[in-house]
Amino acid sequence: MSRFFKAGSDSESETESSEDDEIIQQRPSAAPVQSRTFQFSDDEDDSRRIVRSAKDKRFDEMTNIIQQMKNHKQIKDMANVLNDFEALIKAADKAKKVIQEEGVPRFFIRCLFDLEEYANECWEDKEWRKSISKNNSKSFTSLRQKLKKYIREKYEKEVNDYKENPDHGDDDKRDETPAPQDEESEDEVDTPVKAPVKPKLPAPPVIKKQLPKSMDDDDDDDDDIDWDSSDDSVESDIDDEQFDTGKLTAEYFLKKSDSGTSKKEKKRKEPKQMKLEETDEEGDWEEVKGGAPLIMERPKMFGKDQEINVDAVLKKLYEITSARGKKGTDRNEQIELLKELREIAETNNLGLGIDVKLYFNIIGAIFDYNPNTLTSMRNDVWESCLSYLQTLLNILIDHPEVNVGEHIKEDDENLTEAPLYVRGCFLTLVEKMDEEFTKMLQSCDAHSTEYVERLQDERQVCDILEKTLRYLEIKGTTLEISRIYLKRIEHLYYKFDTSCVYTGDNEPKKEGTSEQTMDKLCKFLYTSETPDRLRTRAILCHIYHHALHNRWFQARDLMLMSHLQDNIGHSDIPTQLLYNRTLVQLGLCAFRQGNIRDAHNALVDIQSSNRAKELLAQGLLPNRQNERTPEQEKIEKRRLFPYHMHINLELLECVYLVSAMLLEIPFMAAHEMDVRRRMISKNFHHVMKMSERQTLIGPPESMREHVVAASKSMKTGDWKACKNFIINDKMNAKVWDLFFQPDKVRDMITVKIQEESLRTYLFTYSNVYDTLSLHTLAEMFELDMSVVHRIISKMIINEELMASLAEPTQTVIMHRTEPSRLQSLALQLSDKFLTLVENNERILEVKQGIYPFQNKRDRNDRQPGTSAAFQHHTQGVVEGEGYGPPTSKSVTNNQHWNRRNNKNYSRESRNY
């Protein structure tokens, strides 16, 4: 108050005279605006005259509160702001009478309005809201609510009026401020826009009269409002400056150095900033201010008079790229800017170096376009990307003097003179492009035309790959060559090339088949110093390719020689998936070649888990035990192979089931009497069981039902029925026609069915025969005598069939050697005793201090002959939870497969 005395003395004297008039005016009008003016004058009066009693005091009170609030607002201490607000409301209540008489004081309304704005502003600043303490945020929300309610209930109209016409308030403030409040002068100084003083100043004397009620309040309010507004503006100014200097750093200065243009830019940018703030979902306006201005400025790159040279372009480029990755950066805009820049550079003939550099940047920006790794590019963007890549590639190829590479440092770049050095790695771009391509394929529906359209780009992609390959062969390092080779291989291995399937040995080898390409590329990878991962993948692709083209022996030998089964579990998941694919393809190849057992072995692990789809990354299966987290699902989705690379799962299952049938049915027949039945294929048994459970078995419809029906007829040795179930129109359409030479496969299957049916027949019915004529058998199964002879001889040698062949009569003579019940029981008993003794021994070993549990498995192996043999035939598939690390089981399986194959391999190599 003391201040007021000092400052106010002059003004008072002036005003007093006019007061009277004003009062008169004001009373009739009673508009809030006017009332405020009076209040202000009151303030001044108050300050001088202590006498003024309650009403003045109240206004003072309010102004004080408002001032405090302002301070608190500045430091965003919401708890205190809330307190202040509540105090203010109380004060306003006290001053009710005055207000009623005088109308609502302008400064109070302004305060409310400002506070509301402030609250809204803060509300939108999510980041800030997150960062503040709990207490603070609580009071903030309650403040916001109370404020809204308060305004709505009491002063809605006034605030709206004020909104429409806010300047009045400002004016008023000014009027008041200069005179009475020195301390506040700082604030006031900042508010520069205010209009000249109004005539309301003289009001004070009137106030005295009117005062008792409203005036006090009003005055106080007004003052406060003044401060608020001024403060705010100051704040925002400061903010702007801070951000500009702090965040933009180099760029900011760069602009300045660009002289005139930059300023213009800045101004243009500002309105856009505002828009951005509003549009930006995040509402992170502070950051936006920093990032946006740079990119947004579009219209002109360079000033008209500016000389466009390499440096200028580089600067500009740097300017543009430095906004990259920032929040709020419009990526589309950035691409456009870069394109424009490139055009400018081109028209100004700045040279190849700049051109190449800009191309790199444009392509990079295009790849940046999607911030989300999951979503794929838009088609048009993709197409432009492809075309840019091609142009760049052509430039690079046409101008061997241009050197590009990651190793070239930014400082060493030479964009102008003959041996050009440009930083940037084309290979990386190509790899990225390939990734994007896969992503695009993944994202569109595999059965839509869109997919086909996308797939047509494969040609272009391959083209680029090939060109890059040729380019890198000249320019690149070994590692780079390996990488591009692998990329090429990966685009080659799964494609079926009819030209490289041998139909006969005498046919001359054709040139330029994919086989030769694969061979060349892979061999390079095998011999050169490449990382293991590349080599592994190359081997797998090579095997896949071999298998796909029926080169069974090459494929198998490569598989065995690589010893991949041992350590595939340690490699990364995509490679494991590739391994699974390869194994499956190997199995299919074995099947086509009539190696049923190999086919079964290759497929058993994939099929037995019932998760073939997942193991081959051809789709996600619902996970029963534990739900995937969304991240996991995303990751797994990204691993999926695009549809055109899929292996037909039904074909796969059918091949597996048929080979299981061919193995299992005779096996079951042979071991019918065994106490503990062992199974070759659990999956097959499961399928059989499922069909047995059905109450009514109709004619087969699905592939599975066909196989089951075939198995049933095979059990009785009815090979014709079996064949008809396996090979018919339905099955042809579903499965067999998918093979390359379906007729060959069908013939093979027929022969196999005949042979295995014969074996089954012999196992099942040998006990009802004393002798069997080979002729009859040959007729029954429509096989050659020699074949029948061969099969039976083999069975006799393997001690599967207790019989002998009588050559002169061409008959099989059965020997009854079936063990009696008692004998088989005794055998079982001896088996049991064996385990008992073993267990006992182990106890003893523990007692002796040997720790023997490791060699347990060996012992189990040597025990039952059949099971060991069976175990040897299982082989490994990499499986794990969600493509995770392989389970221990699969590892052991791997070992088995390995062991067995080593044997096989050595055996076969001897044969050769």
């Binding site: 009696s820 019940r821 008692l822 029981l825 005794a826 079982q828 008993l829 049991k832 005793f833 385990t835 008992l836 267990n839 006992n840 182990r842 106890i843 523990v846 720790y851 549990f853």
Partner: protein
């Protein structure tokens, strides 16, 4: 009591013909041809070194819903009644039928222990109805050995205790020879009957029905072996766990020592001793009595099989020579 203990234990069991017949009758009537177990009480007297069993009565069969049935009450009542008609009423044991010699099990041991604990001379008679139908009366008397009694009284079937007592499967039971004694009158009646017997019926025992009997025996043997194997596996697992625990304990101790050494270097007081048993609770090793019983049972089966096969072989040889004789004639 003291005097009785000093006396030489019962050397053999003298069985009255009446008892045998009652036993067979009980089994036949209630045992469903030997597949169900029947039990009863033996009455008799110890005379010198022999245990005379002069009478018996069956435990009545009662279904599960008759829970209020009091067996002890029934027995007491029965014995009182028998005393009234002046029959031996001293409780000297109990009998049980068996199916293919399956009798060595936990309940038998427990109840026999109880009998022997209260009535020292008591025995258990095991009657095999199947063998009887084949012409071999098979009644065997068993009792627990003193060692087994002592072992059982401790009710601690851990490995340690077994080794302490030196208990093995063949030391659990002792078989007491059984002698059947009839009155002279009965004997003369029997002689009379024998003469009337037809020739063919006499050689019933020469029947060579081997396989079914052996098969059944083998099956049971297998079950037993399986059970033993399981038991052994349990034990093995336990051993493994103990071993693991011991390793962990050792590691812990070593670590402790190192820590303490370090602390000593730094001049800090050593870590307080913690109760190792709390950290590593001693694992409960599984009781081994079952294993013993299974072994005993296996032993029993084996003896049966071997005796059966010996007899069968003897018969076979006899038959062979008879056949040869017939051919040569």
């Amino acid at each position: 009591m003291a005097t009785r203990k000093q006396r030489a234990p019962v050397q053999y069991v003298q069985l009255d013909g009446l008892v045998v017949l009652k036993l067979i009758k009980h089994c036949q009537e209630e045992g469903a041809g030997g597949t169900d177990l029947v039990q009863g009480v033996l009455l008799g007297l110890v005379v010198d070194n022999r245990l005379e069993i002069t009478n018996c009565f069956p435990f009545p069969r009662h279904s599960e819903d008759q829970e209020d049935f009091n067996e002890v009450q029934y027995q007491m009542e029965m014995m009182r009644n028998l005393r009234h008609v002046n029959i031996d009423h001293l409780h000297v044991g109990w009998y049980q039928s068996t199916y293919f010699g399956t009798f060595i099990n936990r309940p038998l041991i427990d109840s026999q222990y109880n009998y022997q604990d209260s009535i020292e001379e008591s025995v258990v008679l095991i009657y095999d109805p199947l063998k009887t139908t084949q012409g071999f009366l098979s009644v065997k008397a068993y009792r627990l050995t003193p060692a087994m009694m002592k072992f059982h009284s401790e009710n601690d079937f851990t490995t340690e205790n077994i080794t302490k007592h030196g208990m093995t499967f063949d030391k659990m039971f002792e078989e007491i020879p059984v002698v059947t004694k009839n009155s002279h009158l009965v004997n003369s009646l029997l002689c009379n009957l024998e003469e009337k017997d037809k020739e063919a019926d006499k050689f019933n025992f020469l029947d060579l029905a081997t396989s079914s009997m052996l098969q059944k025996n083998l099956r049971q043997l297998m079950e037993c072996v399986d059970a033993t194997t399981m038991d052994i596996n349990k034990y093995l697992n336990c051993q493994r766990q103990i071993m693991r625990q011991q390793q962990a304990k050792q590691q812990y101790l070593q670590k402790r020592q190192q820590d303490n050494a370090m602390r000593a270097q730094r001049g800090e007081p050593p870590l307080p001793e913690e109760d190792l048993n709390k950290l590593f609770k001693p694992l409960q090793s599984p009781p081994r009595l079952d294993c013993l019983l299974y072994s005993g049972q296996i032993d029993n089966y084996c003896q049966q099989i071997s005796s059966f096969s010996t007899q069968s072989l003897g018969k076979l040889f006899m038959a062979e020579s008879l056949q040869n004789d017939g051919q040569s004639n």
